[in-house]
Amino acid sequence: MALLEVKNLKTNFYTRYGVSRAVDDVSFAVEKGETVGIVGESGSGKSVSCYSLMGLVPSPPGKIESGSALFNGIDLLSCSKKELRKIRGNTISMVFQDPMSSLNPYLTIGVQLTEHLVLHKGISKEEARKKAISALLEVGIQDPEIRINYHPHQLSGGMRQRVMIAMALITEPLLLIADEPTTALDVTIQAQIIDLINDLKKRKEMSVIFITHDLGVVAGIADHVLVMYSGRIMESGKTRDVYYDPLHPYTRALLKSTPSVEMKDKELYVIPGHPPENYEEVKGCVFASRCEFASDKCRSTIPELQELSDGHYSSCLRVQDGSIAEKLSEGGSV
């Protein structure tokens, strides 16, 4: 049984401009001990899906319309607030994008590391403090006994992100959701943080959901990849499969537009058009308006995710009916 099984999640945002379909019928699963990468542009719904699971979607204007998310036997989307709170920060933890704004500037990191530990595990403050110190060591922060009394602004960006990771892992969760944890950091630190997460994941036998827009990052860390666009899943499968044998024009386009050293003199590939605003009801495939392979059928029928080979799913109608299979593998990949 999968650790987390999400089925048909639909989340809408009701704003003055209209109703935005942030997450539009998303289903996926996370097995024990595996890392799932969710990739997409901004507005693809990758973050909102996970926020929906955790009950962190601000409720107006957001609303979870339907779906289920079975985690450890409990449906996160229909359980009581109290039950959800017991899970948050305890068996499911989150790490956010910007460690400077995500940490409370007025409190010491010691307090922020221990408050939920004391709450969820019922241990004493002194014990919690000891655990916090060893957690800091684990994430690679030197002199933790001193640093534990620091305020966030006294630490560097990379260190702050390590603190956030320590904060997430101190309760030994079964699942870690990392929402673009490396986007706000520079490249060298990014690599360190990714290694850290990988390392900790193996040691603690944790599952990880890693959200990012950076394909390069996902390649290095994920067992499974979900490619999202405009609230829907375009393709999902084992990382190797998706990267070397993309089964969706969008995935292929993403792979093509990632600059690489071999490209040298060639021009940068740009996907024509721009991501939709999610306000309109799209009758067919959401990507059709920007897709070079789009046909009339694509524009009029809403595609379903279909398993095309072992564990490899695609929601492209033309791939499903076989009309463009060769064209896709022509484009080359990363």
């Binding site: 709170r85 948050r88 989150m94 910007d98 940490l103 007025y106 409190l107 939920h116 305020h151």
Partner: protein, 306 residues
Amino acid sequence: MFKIILNRILIAIPVLLIVITVTFFFIRMAPGGPFDTEKVLPPEITKNLNKYYNLDKPVFLQYTDYLKNLTHGDFGPSFRHSNRTVSEMIFTGLPITFELGVYAILIAICIGIFAGLLAALSPNSMQDYIPMSFAMTGICMPSFLLGPVLVLIFGIWFDLLPVSGWNTLPGDKILPSITLGATYAAYVARLTRGGMLEVMYQDFIRTARAKGLPEAMVVMRHALRGGLLPVVSFLGPAIAGLLAGSFVVETIFQVPGLGRFYIKAAFDRDYTMILGTTIFYSALIIFFNLFSDILTSWLDPRLREH
């Protein structure tokens, strides 16, 4: 952080000196003042003035003498009441005004923060509109309007509360305190609401929730410190306003505090009293501004370093 405190004190001292100097020389310029040689004054006053100011000495020496006397708390004799000194009058009125001020601030803080919190916790709902409308009323009905209206309603029409005096009739402290505190309660409520709303949208509040903390803890431990900062910085200037407000409130409610003395002195042209009280008030305001600045720096750890 000590640098900040030192910095503020270094500003405060010249400011105080400027105040004293300017006031001193202003008074000398006032027509009909103690230094207007054309004016005819009762002999006892002239005697006191001469003795205190040594009017035959050159002006600059008079000034330094005055400063010296100030350091002993000696503000000189009253211009109008020959048998009283300014210090005496200040210190008779001060405790009363102080008490009035304390009640007003307590009302302002308790009601204001409570109302502001209520409003911030469910924005754009009735829980928000109702307290904030009251707050707006408090701001738009100045104390010199609110006071008489309260007197009219509670004192005259319903005859529930006494309308004058302080400590002479039971309950006579209620209306003046409410009148003085109401406007500040209004400002505090708005500041609290604004500050809390800003904080509640910050990312670290989302993090706190993501850790599974109960909402009450999120608000109390994480939001409050940041959210109330604007209220703390407001306290300094608020004291200045409170003092000014006390003039009106004490006049309307016949409270024998320092404010009423000040206004009377202004009308009576009791120049030495005006001089002394101005300096005293200024010193108080400067002190409270300093205190508020220090408190703000202390509460925000990010400011401590700079």
